[in-house]
Amino acid sequence: MTEMVFGTVPVRAGEPVLPRWWRTIDRWSLAGVLVLFGVGLLLGLAASVPLAEKNGLPPFHYVTRQAFFGGVGMVVMLVISMMSPDMVRRMGVIGFLGAFAALALLPVFGTDFGKGAVRWYSLGFASFQPSEFLKPCFVIICAWLMAAAQEINGPPGRLYSFFLAVTVVLFLAFQPDFGQASLILFAWGVMYFVAGAPITLLTVIGGIVVAGGIAAYDASEHFARRIDGFLASEVDPRTQIGYATDAIQSGGFFGVGVGEGTVKWSLPDAHTDFIIAVAAEEYGLILVLFIIALYALVTGRSLLRLMKERDPFTRLAGTGLACAFGVQALINMGVAVRLLPAKGMTLPFVSYGGSSVIASGIALGMLLALTRSRPQGRLHDILIKRGR
């Protein structure tokens, strides 16, 4: 395995851990994540009050809970971001085994909290969703497999990773949790794309998807009606989407005022899936654009930094993590603005959810660890090439 991480470990004799971390970390992305978490707490002050009131708890019960779990998540993120890519890979693989076991045992020990899908373990004081933790670990193990495939005489890692992806997706689809399944599939696809998927294959897959969609639209009336319903400009104001749209519209550019919003009282998922609607109503377009900019900043900067990365594993793993993060945010906000059909997907770091924020902390910690600037052997390359 030594070859795989050749030249990636920065060695500066005698440099302490923390200064080195501070020198090499992507400080903009780190700041972005921390600000996102802060915004999440701010919105939680408004959005989680109705839920607390409904459950007969003090109004800011869920805010303090989120602050606690978020604090844990932030610490986890910082600790993981100090690890070396090797360490991240090892932890990721071990974590994957654990998370996958937890996922597989869900039908036995899990609970559905009356929501119809068995996705959680109830720990009494908190609940725990294995698929949230499985996601970053899956990205790591797939990146490892794909990177190994790039070795000469290496194993057929891409095929293995494909089978792994299909297995995980099937498990998730059985819960059912199509949102997480599609995220897993998307992360695998992006990594495969960056790992060098043949253009012909991509073209063929794209063609099949388009043709299949058209065929399904023509053949299945049910499918067609759903698509038409989504594409229709009119929206029933009593649906979740209707409330969210109404909230965004009444918020306007500067919002109706802090705490003045009404959508949080009407929407049961205002503190999780539709928190962006609360933000739009109370703080207006300003805050929404700021949140979008933060997600774009973290995703974009990570991808740009990974362009310089020489190590295939680091590059692939980083790509998968950054894209999963960005896409999750995109899907959540796309639903709120009616660009996508309704899908339960949290907004990372902003939505309420203890296990969600810790899992996001793990994923972003790994991403930050992988995007740290390292000597990329540029001088070495130049010398070798000149020598050739």
Binding site: F193, D246, G252, V337
Partner: protein, 593 residues
């Protein structure tokens, strides 16, 4: 196991020939190829990552643009921040014929509670119960500490009460503005006005809907913003109404009656100038309807419109008028009054025995049942029914009160000859005092049909002709004689030439038959008879006049003095000038000194 060829074969073979270790060469080769491959894949990945990054930024941009587009557009659906459609609160005033306010609106407040916001639910409940004695402290405590999120405490509170509630200082006690219906004159004209209560209620406003009387009849009109705030003008005259109610109340007490009603109507326009029914109520605090007992005993019951009674001898005028109109008799025709009159198994008696014969005029003046029954036999049932129907005595009055349709006259099931005879003197047919007023107005105004109305109008009614003007005049003279020398002698009011007819009807028992000592005494009067202008009906329920040796119940002793007092006081208010007969005495006598 697939065999991997040694590469580069040429160098390895030559190295082997030189005895060097070919593995080093192969490893070096592998390392070089690996480097190249990594460079290639990195170059490709670099491009693809840039593509990905661009795609992400583009999609983030699309989401942001859509957000901006939505934020810039106005909410098409009603904004959820507003609570439903606004309730139109402004209700038009009701005024009398001179424009004086009978009903108007007052901005007040309702008190409601949001227990989750309350600081001290138990203490607040106790303080509220102290401010509003009708509230139950225990009940409030239960409500405030229970699961309720919202409850109305009081629908209407005064500014003083609001201040006291403010002083409790509990943030969970809140006020909503209310437009409240106010009847500034209290109980005056209560039965005409009816009442109003809250319909749909929101926190910010509540709908006021009419529940009875003209408030209910004209509810839509009063609430219609298209009227531009124009008030509803009634035909009532507030001062006359007040006078009538005052005098009627005094008369009711004096005559020991349990209830009374009075109607003052313009004989030409059909306008009801005053209408009273006692006992009455205050429409500001409208009492609840009776749950048991006779609803006719409730103060809410409008005796003048809803109550139908056998009105006794006041009906004799109709029989005589028809007989005159048909030319069967003239005022001086002698009619058999031999008492008792026996008809099959029935015996008809008069209050006094009037001898063998009376003129038609005296039948009215002395109020002979037997004489009227003989006249009715001349008419026959068929013609009698037609005539009474043309006077409007067969159908509910069309007056603009929500309760009017319930005042449906009671007619005999079979109109036999004995019915014809009894109805001619007012037994066997029940009608409301308002029916009587309209019928008398019809006879007094020269003979055209009058429909009663509560709305002010300046036009004389051009109803169908029921009797000729000549008959009308003859009847008026008879009615004048009833007052000047007949049963209603206490009805004389100097200068106003009052005419009328008394009626004393035994009250029917609910079990059948008639009470011996319970009557309804009615005085139907017209004034002035020289040029009729108003009809006044006064009806007392179970009056007893006890100043004499024995209790007197006849209308002449009970209803007539009350009616006369009403005329004495109301006529000047109505703008009528007394016609003093002995003008010569008032002449200035010039004396020589």
């Amino acid at each position: 196991m697939t065999r991997i060829p040694l590469r580069p074969l040429a160098r390895i073979l030559s190295a082997r020939a030189k005895g060097e270790n070919p593995d080093v060469i192969e490893r070096e080769n592998i390392r070089q190829r690996h480097e190249e491959m990594r460079d290639r894949s990195r170059a490709m990945a670099e491009g693809r990552l840039l593509l990905l990054c661009g795609a992400f930024l583009a999609v983030f941009g699309v989401v942001a643009a859509q957000m901006g587009f939505l934020a810039a557009s106005e909410p098409a659906e009603p904004v959820s921040a507003q609570s439903g459609s606004a309730i139109v609160a402004q209700r038009a005033d009701i005024v009398d014929r001179e424009g004086r306010i009978l009903a108007t609106n007052l901005v007040t407040h309702s008190l409601y509670a949001q227990p989750p916001q309350m600081v001290d639910p138990v203490g607040s409940a106790e303080k509220l119960a102290a401010i509003f004695p009708d509230l139950d402290a225990e009940r409030l405590k239960k409500d405030f500490t229970g699961k309720r999120k919202f409850l109305w405490v009081k629908k209407k509170i005064s500014p003083e009460q609001m201040q006291l509630v403010h002083e409790i200082g509990d943030p969970g006690l809140l006020f909503g503005p209310r437009e409240m219906r106010l009847y500034p004159n209290g109980a005056i004209a209560s039965h005409v006005l009816g009442g109003a209560s809250f319909g749909r209620e929101g926190v910010r406003s509540a709908e006021v809907v009419g529940t009875a009387g003209v408030e209910k009849t004209f509810d839509t009109w009063l609430r219609d913003p298209a009227n531009g705030g124009a008030p509803l003008q009634l035909s009532l005259d507030l001062t006359v109404q007040s006078t009538v109610e005052d005098v009627l109340y005094g008369g009711m007490k004096l005559m020991n009656a349990k209830a009374a009603s009075a109607i003052l109507m313009d004989v030409h326009t059909g306008e009801v100038v005053a209408m009273a029914s006692l006992p009455d109520f205050d429409p500001n605090t409208r009492p609840a309807p009776l749950l048991k007992g006779n609803p006719g005993d409730s103060p809410l019951f409008n005796r003048a419109v809803q109550g139908v009674y056998e009105l006794g001898s006041t009906f004799k005028v109709f029989a005589v008028a028809q007989a005159l109109e048909l030319g069967l008799v003239n005022p001086d025709t002698l009619v058999d009054t031999q008492s008792p009159m026996v008809w099959g198994k029935y015996r008809i008696r008069d209050f006094h025995n009037y001898g063998k014969q009376l003129t038609v005029s005296d039948v009215i003046v002395k109020s002979s049942n037997i004489g009227t029954a003989h006249i009715a036999l001349m008419l026959g049932g068929e013609r009698q029914q037609q005539f009474l129907k043309s006077l409007g005595l067969f159908d509910p009055t069309a007056v603009e009160l929500a309760e009017a349709p319930t005042g449906r006259p009671l007619l005999p099931k079979r109109w036999s000859e004995i019915s014809t005879m009894t109805i001619s003197y007012g037994h066997g047919l029940s009608a409301s005092p308002l029916h009587l007023a309209a019928a008398y107005a019809t006879i007094a105004n020269g003979g055209t049909r009058i429909t009663p109305t509560l709305l002010k109008t300046d036009r004389r009614q051009e109803g169908e002709r029921v009797i000729s003007e000549g008959t009308s005049r003859e009847i008026l003279d008879m009615m004048r004689a009833v007052v000047s020398r007949g049963t209603a002698s206490f009805g004389e009011v100097q200068g106003y030439s009052v005419g009328g007819k008394t009626g004393t009807a035994d009250k029917a028992k609910p079990t059948g038959g008639y009470y011996k000592d319970k009557v309804i005494a009615t005085f139907a009067s017209v004034f002035p008879t020289t040029a009729p202008k108003y009809v006044l009906i006064v009806s007392l329920d179970e009056p007893v006049e006890t100043s004499g040796d024995e209790p007197r119940r006849t209308a002449g002793w009970t209803a007539v003095p009350v009616g006369a007092e009403i005329i004495r006081r109301a006529a000047p208010l109505l703008g009528l000038r007394p016609e003093l007969e002995q003008l010569s005495q008032a002449e200035v006598i010039r004396v020589r000194n």
